[in-house]
Symmetry: C2
Subunit: 81 residues, 2 copies
């Protein structure tokens, strides 16, 4: 079995209203040293594939379902479990 950890982040320069709103809340809560907040999504996918083809399959699914290449960057780690 393989465990793939996929992190999908907004590209630099793409607006992140959720991050802005969190920064604002943190400042209001007294955390005035906070300068910026960016949000991202992590997906952990467990799949029953051989190690060799694991990365290929995961990158294919990331491109098909997880990522919009216009606004997202992504990072993938695959490990055996």
């Amino acid at each position: 079995m393989l465990k793939a950890t996929i992190v999908v982040r907004l590209k630099e320069g793409v607006d992140d209203p959720e991050g802005k709103s969190i920064k604002h809340s943190l400042n209001l809560l007294g955390f005035e040293s906070v300068r910026d907040v960016r949000t991202a999504k992590e997906y952990v996918v467990v799949l029953d594939s051989p190690r060799e083809e694991g990365m290929k399959v995961v990158v294919e699914m990331v491109r098909k379902l997880f990522v919009n290449p216009v606004i997202h960057d992504y990072e993938v780690r695959v490990e055996e479990i």
Copy 2:
């Protein structure tokens, strides 16, 4: 300046409907080897604090704003930038 990366995950046993829905979609798209999908949220916070008190401040903000301890686990990394 410090960069804190905070990952907030649902605890084991807590239902993850978004993950379930993604698993279903992946299976329908032909990725039949996918057994499970869990989702999590990553926050990158940039703050203007000295290194020594960085971790303390970040853990405090995580507890106040980012996490519901009943359903979430979290992980924090702090680095200088």
